[in-house]
Symmetry: C2
Subunit: 332 residues, 2 copies
Amino acid sequence: MALKTRRVRLARKPQNAIEVSDFLIEQIVLEELKDGQLLLRPLYLSLDPYLLSFMRDWSGPQRDWSDGIIVGRAISQVVASQAQGFAEGDLVIGDCHWQDLDVRPAKAMRQLESSLLSPSLQLGVLGASGITAWAGVTDVLEPKAGQTLVISAASGPVGSVAGQLAKAAGARVVGIAGGVEKCRYVVEQFGFDACVDHRQADFPAALAAALPDGADLHFESVGAATLDPVLPLMNKFGCIALCGLMQHYQDRDPVTLSNFRSLLYGALQLQSFHLADYGKRFSEATEVLSGLLEQGQLRYSEVISEGLEQAPAAYVAMTRGQGIGKHLVHLG
Amino acid sequence: MALKTRRVRLARKPQNAIEVSDFLIEQIVLEELKDGQLLLRPLYLSLDPYLLSFMRDWSGPQRDWSDGIIVGRAISQVVASQAQGFAEGDLVIGDCHWQDLDVRPAKAMRQLESSLLSPSLQLGVLGASGITAWAGVTDVLEPKAGQTLVISAASGPVGSVAGQLAKAAGARVVGIAGGVEKCRYVVEQFGFDACVDHRQADFPAALAAALPDGADLHFESVGAATLDPVLPLMNKFGCIALCGLMQHYQDRDPVTLSNFRSLLYGALQLQSFHLADYGKRFSEATEVLSGLLEQGQLRYSEVISEGLEQAPAAYVAMTRGQGIGKHLVHLG
């Protein structure tokens, strides 16, 4: 018997800033479950900035995106299994379509151990976001006591963890976030030493004032809007971890930096990194993150929207910087 | 008795591209020689791109440049000494004014051993240019057999040495230079595997054609004009040594890169470096460079202008990419 499900996909290639009207919700018939496959009920969809570049480019690392079909990280429950080792009721993590029900190969899924914590954390603080922060801080930047580290998108799921890891390593941590409320949250809840609002009139001067001794390290996830004012404030031999370019997933315009020369003058290093290249160290990372979480030394925030039909609006809100923390859609 | 000398200095702050008319030649009276000072006759003035940023910014690392007085690397002969350990006739290297005679503190000078080679090489292939190339190749990029390295300003005194050092390490080396003649020279004289003319109509496509397997390493001395087309051709985990930004010393305009996102997508590293930070390794570097030179494995080219009055035209020619190799002024 053919099962039907709702699917969220792109109605068209997004032009400028992505809009809710770029998405549509349709009814589709699921394919029959074959050997090695799982019928899944996604519970949490992860709303991540990197998806925007696939949506805009109409292509991703593994396939063409020109059909508008979205595949993103998710936590799902197994409804039916045609794969050895997977049983009804199992919780799994792995890329899914934005659907109420989905058929996926079991080999693309990893089973989650049962835990008292919300499974959503496996997408956030204990998952891709947290491990990305861990890789950038622990492997790329290696902050030491006495150093000052700047973090853009400081209220986001990556930046907020990065800052707490750097604080645990003894660094002074200065965040950059959009708006007074977010900045207050970053200091009061995530324990940053300071946080500068990039929406204020003279943001570069305010950032300089928050960095009286300059910055030794910088964790960048946004793009020119935050990187450019940070560059001239970097101390000699400083290191910049380039984690993402959220601002530049929105378009294909050239990236313009007034302070590019500072990279040379400061003998700076800029190092990009990908979560996918840390596969062998995931358990090391999650051990650190779980340990801090259990000791109450790692705080997080989730922005959870309810129901598949909310996915477009929730995704657009995430790209516009609304809300604090990890953006997720919870499916009933 | 007060000595007189000619001095080349800036008549004004250069505006767009520097012009000969931005300089003037004047007659000045030398200060009296004091204890610890040397009266010097500069023999070779080094014409370096980095000076342009001080000229344009009206300031340098050690002092204000708003008086238009130029200080650059030079080889000089001691005419009179008020400093212990220095005698008339000694050859010294160290920063000098662009003058026929100069008074400088002895502590800013280093004595050169007598050699059968031209002392001018101490400013080029065996001096700042060669050591800069050595630092970028040996310390920053560390090319290995089988890797491909791209070098901008390949016919220049740094790029040409960098390429030969990388060839010696077993890498495939592709240069970028301006004009067919320079490109031919880079391949035939400096032994690069290929050299791409950045003045041709479809330079990015020609560069891609010369890099069928992409580039693993890049040595950048120019700026966006060469960095931007190289970025999307870099292989994953590639490394870029940022040695200079010759193109961007000409102005203070923002630097625009269409392919900045490639830094992120390729998990690339960009590492800037300064010659001055390799002071402790100068002898290690010159040993390597001298050894290669003696074995005939290091070729160089010099563009020597005769007479102090030629310094402005020679400097302007260097900034415009005229001539192949190290630009010097020889004083009689």
